[in-house]
């Protein structure tokens, strides 16, 4: 048993009090003196050349303060990497999807701004659009980006060698193709941004973000102002799920309008704009070919994936890789060849999402189940024979240190009663298992590390400064728990200053699941350094050496003689009287392979730790309606160490809702001529309280990662991914058909049941015929 007093404990989050009182301020809640309303004019065409923009009538409208078009932007472009810089914040040449930004207005109120948008006259020349990624690769129409032949935006090729050889050695080989359409984040908070230039010409911005430092750099580049003049401010954030990581064109546009008007400007997206004008999850067509030996161990695998990337690169190279990487981490693959193609289409832009590559992952797991059935092995055994083990290297040469994949499988199997239920459930009642692994961080160069500062105040309380952002997952509480643990204070003694680029140092942000591992680690080290300074002073007073001391509950005491103690507050005051600083810093940089690059060199240490998750799902399917009723979900994840089990459980449950219940049963986009026809909450079916399974079993597995703070690593995204796999496996098991098109909507389920019946009749007819012949 550990002797931690604050970490590892169920603790209500420090930010929840303000949230239940309605006091937490989100971006749209901000009101600054003289603030104007900004609105964006978007292209009504999926592919069109912009011939002319006439703003004269709009400018003449009373109450309009400024209009910006591509001409005001000097053509600045955004892209996560230098080689993917393909998106102008406001288009100057052509629009590439319905919703592309072509102009924007700032006015005294929303009505005036909307009226002005209608008065902006844009003359377009319509071009042939392409909406299907497979068609886009062979289309003879004008390329979406002229320097990308065949509309192929990104091609990731990974090849460990010996693939064909090992297919030849295989006992059994299967090839199957799986498809899944686009999905969306539907964060509770629609995107909003407030920007102003202050009296020192510094740009101040409030907006939902996955890392404030990821916003400040592109804004600094775009406006050609130093980084210290871009102040991304802390604000409550209503969910991200990967969709707030990059700069949003609205950030730049809002700042540009603020610059032009010299007034604060607020842009609030409608729900539809949030769906169309931010990011979406990629649609995917994935073919897995897998060869196994007689025992079901994978000897060779070839995976080819075509991803519909939409109009611009976004996080293209990462998005094209992560679905594969998650699976190569979860399972040993033998020899493997991966070709991932991200293809431009005239549709909204696709980026990172919590359940990255649902069709990819579910396909791989479904195929394992198919192979297992062929070999007469049960799905659990099939996974155990291929599961990642600690001390191994992944196919792309990442060393896996802590890994309790097998423990997550065993515990989930036991808790769910999988073995007792598998093969014994009544018709249309099924159970399925999914397993997955997620990275704790990506190689991010100079922005891969986090630095924290701690200052003690003379009352014995401390202020912690960290660049870590909280999108809702509980990062702030995590930092407070760590600081309180290390400093020997209570959580209420810690004041947190975070997610503000003026006062905090660089931090990688939350989007690569790295906030605890890197940002939390930095705070831990800073707090330890601070404590060391206090111990030096306290040791003199208590007449011991610093190593004999411990800090807890606002006291520093002698470990072997706890009666000998001194309040921390007193130590702080003694230090200050003795000209000794009681502030400290700390930083953490994960040791990743800096030469690893998504496209050019996809080999080497990806991150320092990987999480592993297993989800088992039990369902009943109504054969008349195709409706799925989820009876029970059991989710087990190796999180390294649970800093706050209460928060973690909430993350698991949310992951099941988004990855499994929504992601596998109801969530997808529908299109007509490049127009998303279900961008609203009315038409896009998000899980409700009445839809969720009545029973969720959370199992936290702790492998104590040697590098992570207290052993902690990524938490809950392995559940979001494996929940998708578990749901699809359970439905397939219930209806006796392996599903290859996700999500599993009633129409697909009914069609599969019908096809199976027909097939069974055919089989019977065939058998009868054979019998009659003989």
């Amino acid at each position: 048993m550990s002797d931690y007093t604050i970490v590892g404990k169920r603790m209500p989050r420090v930010d929840s009090r303000a949230k239940v009182m309605g006091k937490a301020k989100f971006t749209a809640d901000l009101k600054l003196p003289g603030m104007l309303v900004g609105k964006i004019k978007r292209s009504p065409y999926a592919h069109a050349r912009i011939l002319n923009i006439d703003t004269s009538k709009a400018l003449a409208l009373a109450g309009v303060k400024a209009i910006v078009t591509g001409k005001d932007t000097e053509g600045v472009k955004w892209g996560v990497f230098a080689y993917t810089r393909d998106q102008q914040f406001i288009q100057t040449q052509k629009a590439r999807y319905i919703g592309d930004e072509v102009a924007a207005v700032a006015a005294v109120d929303e009505e005036t701004a909307l009226e002005a948008l209608d008065l902006i006259e844009v003359t377009y020349e319509e071009l042939s659009p392409v909406f299907d990624p497979m068609e886009a690769m062979t289309s003879q129409t004008e390329l979406i980006h002229e320097d990308f032949p065949n509309n192929i935006n990104i091609h990731v090729n990974i090849d460990t060698g010996h693939v064909d050889e090992n297919f030849k050695k295989s006992y059994y080989i299967r090839e199957d193709t799986f498809v899944a359409p686009e999905e969306s984040y539907f964060q509770a908070e629609p995107y909003a941004v407030v920007a102003r230039f202050d009296h020192e010409d510094c740009l101040e911005v409030w907006c939902p973000n996955g890392g404030p430092h990821m916003k400040s750099k592109p804004l600094s580049n775009s406006f050609k102002i130093p980084l210290h003049k871009v102040k991304i401010r802390k604000i409550a954030i209503g969910g991200a799920f990967g969709g707030r990581s990059e700069i949003c064109p609205a950030d730049y546009i809002c700042a540009l309008l603020a610059k032009k008007t010299q007034k604060p400007v607020k842009i609030e997206f409608t729900r539809e704009e949030n769906t169309i004008g931010t990011r979406q999850g990629h649609a995917m067509i994935t073919t897995h070919k897998t060869g196994v030996d007689e025992k079901g161990q994978v000897l060779a695998r070839e995976t080819t994936c075509y991803m519909d990337g939409g109009a611009y690169s976004s996080t293209g190279p990462i998005a094209t890789s992560v679905p594969f990487l998650s699976m190569e981490q979860a399972y040993r693959m033998g020899s493997v060849r991966y070709n991932g193609y991200r293809i431009y289409t005239n549709k909204p832009i696709r980026g990172m999402i919590r359940t990255h590559g649902r069709g990819f992952a579910c396909g791989l797991d479904t195929q394992l189940d198919m192979i297992a059935e062929h070999l007469g092995i049960d799905p659990v055994e099939m996974r155990l024979r291929n599961s990642r083990q600690p001390g191994e290297y992944t196919s792309t040469k990442s060393y896996v240190d802590s890994c309790a994949m097998d423990e997550t499988i065993h515990k989930a199997v036991e808790r769910s009663g999988f073995k007792e239920k598998w093969g014994k459930l009544p018709p249309f009642h099924g159970i399925g298992i999914g397993t997955n692994s997620v990275q704790t961080g990506f190689p991010m160069g100079i922005r891969g590390g986090s630095q924290a500062f701690i200052k003690f105040n003379e009352d014995g309380e401390a202020t912690v400064m960290s660049g870590v952002v909280d999108n809702g997952q509980g990062n702030e509480n995590m930092l407070v728990q760590i600081a309180a643990e290390e400093l020997g204070l209570l959580p209420e003694d810690i004041h947190l200053v975070s997610a503000d680029t003026e006062t905090t140092s660089s931090d990688p942000g939350s989007y690569s699941q790295v906030s605890t591992f890197v940002g939390g680690h930095a705070v831990k080290i800073a707090a330890q350094n601070c404590r060391e300074k206090l111990f030096k002073v306290a040791a003199k007073v208590l007449k011991v050496i610093p190593d004999q001391l411990r800090a807890e509950n606002r006291l520093i005491f002698v470990k072997d003689d706890p009666e000998r103690s001194i309040p921390i507050k007193k130590v702080v005051r003694i230090s200050l009287l003795n000209f000794t600083s009681v502030n400290a810093e700390g930083g953490y940089w994960p040791r990743v392979d800096m030469k690893r690059e998504w496209v050019k060199n996809p080999y080497g240490q990806m991150c320092e730790a990987f999480s592993f998750g297993t989800t088992i799902v039990e369902v009943k399917v109504d054969p008349d309606t195709g409706q799925v009723e989820v009876l029970e979900v059991t989710a087990a994840q190796d999180v390294g160490y649970a800093i706050n089990p209460l928060v973690l459980e909430g993350q698991f449950e949310g992951s099941i809702a988004m990855g499994g219940q929504g992601g596998m049963l109801t969530e997808y986009h529908e299109w007509k001529d490049g127009r998303c026809i279900n961008p609203s909450m009315l038409d896009y079916k998000l899980p409700l309280a009445c839809d969720m399974p009545p029973k969720i079993n959370n199992i936290i597995v702790e492998s104590i990662d040697p590098k992570g703070p207290y052993g902690a690593k990524e938490a809950a995204m392995s559940i979001a991914m494996s929940a998708a796999q578990g749901y699809s496996a359970a439905v397939s098991n219930a209806i006796g058909v392996y599903m290859d098109s996700f999500p599993l909507t009633p129409d697909k389920i009914l069609a599969a049941i019908k096809a199976k019946k027909t097939e069974t009749i055919h089989h019977k007819e065939h058998d009868d015929y054979e019998k009659n012949q003989s």
Binding site: F26, G238, N471, P687, A689
Partner: protein, 165 residues
């Protein structure tokens, strides 16, 4: 369109406010009265983030005209706590980890509060049904349901209830 002066009773306070007749209650609360606890998420009455009480009944303030609220008693999330003292329901949300990003929380609290006023010991199914007009994207609802069930009704078996609080 001309602005008109109306008086609303919000959180037991009379509020005089100039509005356009087509202003929604949500717009008036947020933009004119600085009561930004009520949120706009879908803008079409689907998500429940804007839920407030009108004479004790939960209503979508994004679909309710401010004019309709004249002569009624409006309660927003800001009116749930007694100054700084959280209501049992609010405290239960905090204690049970029912809050993640917190954007849906005000609406969720208002729907749950209305339920508890009608039925102080609702079963799980009743809670799920009562909250099915409120969309939460973070929590999967499990902790919210527990928080509502245990509000003012601490359970010995629950590690997050603090009996006697």
């Amino acid at each position: 369109m001309e602005k008109i002066l109306i008086t609303l009773n919000i959180n037991d306070q009379p509020c005089e406010v100039m509005i356009y007749p087509n202003d929604t209650l949500l717009e008036v609360l947020r933009d004119e009265l600085d009561l930004t606890g009520s949120k706009e998420s879908c803008g079409e009455g689907v998500c429940g983030s804007c839920t407030v009480h009108m004479d004790g009944k939960p209503v979508r303030s994004c679909l309710t005209l401010a004019m309709e609220a004249v002569g009624t008693k409006i309660t927003t999330v800001e009116g749930l706590a007694n100054v700084d003292e959280l209501s049992d329901l609010q405290q239960s949300f905090v204690d049970h980890g029912a809050v993640q990003c917190g954007f849906c929380t005000p609406g969720m609290l208002m729907s749950a509060d209305a339920l508890l006023k009608e039925n102080s010991r609702p079963d799980e199914k009743t809670i799920r049904k009562a909250l099915s007009g409120n969309i939460c994207r973070c929590t999967g609802y499990a902790k919210i349901i527990t928080a509502v069930a245990h509000a003012g009704n601490p359970q010995d078996h629950c590690p997050d209830c603090k009996p006697g609080k």
